[in-house]
């Protein structure tokens, strides 16, 4: 057992080379996850609402998007975006941008399904009543349906954020120095304690994800009480 390797490099696992060099380690993992979930929320909301639309030219593209993205491994998507960019734009995209785009695209398809399920879970009377009071479909969505259903979706969003945090480890393959890559670098430098290093970062990931998961479970139980029923 060589835990001193882990202890010596622990600051590198936390922040990478920051402040002398670029940010890395678990700090970068969190930044990556937060930026991506923010983008994925808005894209996913749009796609989810398109998927629910009665107009075919809105619904079908959303269906195709969701099916394609959900049918493909994230790793594949990351590599595909990374290699697609030079083909269509002549220059390579920085790893960071390319990986964020992949995460946003990937997660937004799952968010879209959450949004769809959340809106469908509301009793139908909500929409009918708001339309009857003279709101347009758009207004009814913005002021009546979404405020209620988005609140109900919060636990699912948190779960999605947990998966995304786990998925950020895949940024490793194109060389973003987040926690997994940082650990690999430490491992390559020392070559004596792979088990200790990987166990440490497993526990680091676990702490973040477990805290969030238990939070979402608590939230779910709490929110079940305020659910509008049909």
């Amino acid at each position: 057992m060589q835990w001193n390797v882990v202890i010596d490099n622990f600051d590198y696992l936390l922040f990478g080379a920051y402040p002398e060099g670029p940010l890395g380690g678990i700090a970068l993992t969190i930044v990556l996850a937060v930026i991506s979930i923010f983008g994925a929320f808005w894209v996913g909301l749009a796609v989810g609402l398109m998927r629910l639309s009665k107009r075919r030219w809105l619904r079908y593209p959303a269906m195709v998007y969701i099916e394609i993205v959900r049918g493909v491994p994230l790793l594949m998507l990351i590599l595909w975006f990374y290699f697609m960019f030079p083909v269509f734009f002549g220059t390579a995209l920085p790893e960071w941008d390319s990986v964020i785009i992949s995460f946003v695209v990937f997660t937004s398809a799952y968010v879209a399904e959450i949004v769809r399920a959340g809106v469908l879970a509301l009793p139908k009377g909500q929409m009918e009543a708001s339309r009857a009071t003279g709101l347009t479909h758009f207004q009814a969505m913005c002021y009546v349906i979404l405020p209620q259903s988005l609140r109900n979706m919060i636990p699912s969003f948190v779960n999605q954020f947990v998966s995304l945090t786990k998925d950020t480890s895949l940024a490793y393959v194109i060389g973003v120095v987040e926690l997994t890559r940082a650990a690999e670098q430490v491992n390559n430098r020392t070559l004596s304690a792979p088990m200790e290093i990987y166990l440490t970062i497993l526990v680091m990931y676990f702490i973040i994800c477990y805290v969030l998961t238990s939070f979402s479970r608590r939230l779910e139980r709490k929110m079940a009480r305020y659910q509008a029923r049909g």
Partner: protein
């Protein structure tokens, strides 16, 4: 500043879809299927065992299964793969390791990681399937004189599995998609082969697109199967 769209790239699909490269893709597909099938088998066995252990209400069993599922569900698969590949030196028994090193350690590490990861998810699916069977089924079977194991084997599990099959199928689909991560430790599956074609021919875009189509075809077939099953099952149920 946004990059400008330039379309002077000559797509060469036939380069990737012929000769040696096509062979690689087919070989990769075979390895993907192999690693997924082997892992699925072990994950089903371990997942069922975990779910049943959890239901025994024997405290050490319950603690163990809760710790197992929570830990492996809340950590990234990629790191788990690295852990088993680089760090299993001191964990697995020596003779087993030697035996594996002589054969295909990459494949074995991939199978171990995928099995452990997937079994945690499968255990939860099976547990919720078993929980959805009314409790008095178990009580009634115990009252008839069946032992706990017999009641599970002949009464509860056969009913539960019918409910669990759709989520189990989608878990196996996840498993197939997750098996792509094994390329990072050098298992020559589909994604690895695409990467290799990219570095031999610089036709990365074509290779990855074809791979995406293959994955997509697999998952569309599987979701079609789930829908058919659901329709069939719903008709049977009522």
């Amino acid at each position: 500043m946004l990059p400008r769209l330039v379309l002077n790239y000559q797509f060469q699909w036939n380069v990737v879809l012929s000769g040696e490269y096509l062979d690689w893709i087919i070989k990769g597909l075979v390895v993907t299927c192999q690693i997924s099938a082997v892992s699925l088998f072990f994950a089903l066995v371990i997942g069922t065992a975990l779910a049943v252990m959890r239901l025994t209400r024997f405290k050490p069993f319950v603690w163990f299964t809760v710790a197992y599922t929570e830990f492996f569900r809340n950590t990234p698969l990629l790191v788990q793969i690295f852990f088993w590949y680089f760090g299993s030196d001191g964990l697995l028994p020596r003779p087993l390791l030697v035996w594996l090193y002589e054969r295909d350690f990459e494949f074995a590490a991939g199978v171990i990681a995928l099995t452990v990861y997937t079994s945690a998810f499968i255990a939860e699916e099976i547990r919720s399937g078993i929980n959805s069977i009314p409790k008095n089924q178990l009580e009634a079977s115990r009252a008839c004189g069946l032992s706990f194991v017999q009641a599970m084997r002949y009464v509860i599990l056969p009913q539960a599995f019918r409910i669990i099959i759709p989520p189990l199928i989608s878990q196996s689909l996840n498993l197939i998609k997750n098996s792509s991560l094994c390329m990072t430790i050098g298992v020559a599956e589909l994604t690895y082969m695409a990467r290799q074609i990219e570095s031999y021919s610089f036709r990365g875009f074509e290779a990855f697109t074809i791979n995406m189509v293959i994955y997509l075809a697999i998952s569309l077939l599987v979701s079609l199967a789930i829908n058919q099953y659901n329709k069939h099952f719903l008709r049977m149920a009522g």
